[in-house]
Symmetry: C2
Subunit: 107 residues, 2 copies
């Protein structure tokens, strides 16, 4: 259950699952409600939610016969954190270049 980058990135690599995340950002809701807009079976959506839940991105709470899902963005923080190590490589080409040059100097 300890979420890792593999699971986080895998969970977010599917457009349906990203849409579910986007939906949950608007507020907690039920599985059926999540499933509504999708042209696929409830079972399929349920599996997607399971993937998100296994990745620690969604918390599912059962109340009665209904499952309420809420966004748990914690693991995204780690993902961003990993990505930001490479920030210089997209933000500032000169910075990246100088980084390379520095490295080259002491190699």
């Amino acid at each position: 259950m300890t979420p890792n980058l593999d699971q986080t990135f895998t969970a977010l690599s599917d457009a349906t699952r990203r849409a579910i995340v986007a939906r949950l950002a608007q507020g907690e809701t039920t599985l059926s409600d999540i499933a509504c807009p999708f042209d696929m079976s409830l079972t399929a959506v349920s599996k997607h939610v399971r993937v998100l839940s296994d990745a620690g991105l969604v918390n599912v709470v059962k109340r009665g016969r209904t499952r309420y899902c809420q966004l748990q963005a914690g693991p995204m923080k780690d993902a961003v954190s990993w990505l930001n190590h490479y920030q210089e490589f997209w933000e500032d080409r000169f910075a990246a270049l100088s980084h390379h040059l520095e490295k080259d100097e002491h190699e």
Copy 2:
């Protein structure tokens, strides 16, 4: 070849590929050199680099018989950008809560 979030997150969902990215952040290098530390065939590593390249995260340039690979972090920017939409959900629980309340008000 237009990289999308699906490809970006998929590419980054594998630990080997993330290690390749980390390696390339230290500077451009060859496929063989990338493959060295991994306990798998060159073919396997070549495939991983191909996935990264298809995702637009790595640029491969052939010089002679050697392929030089360099990091192209551009697509990561879009990934971070997508993730940052959910920043409030991990950074500040009160902010997230107030966000929900606001939404609830005009629904």
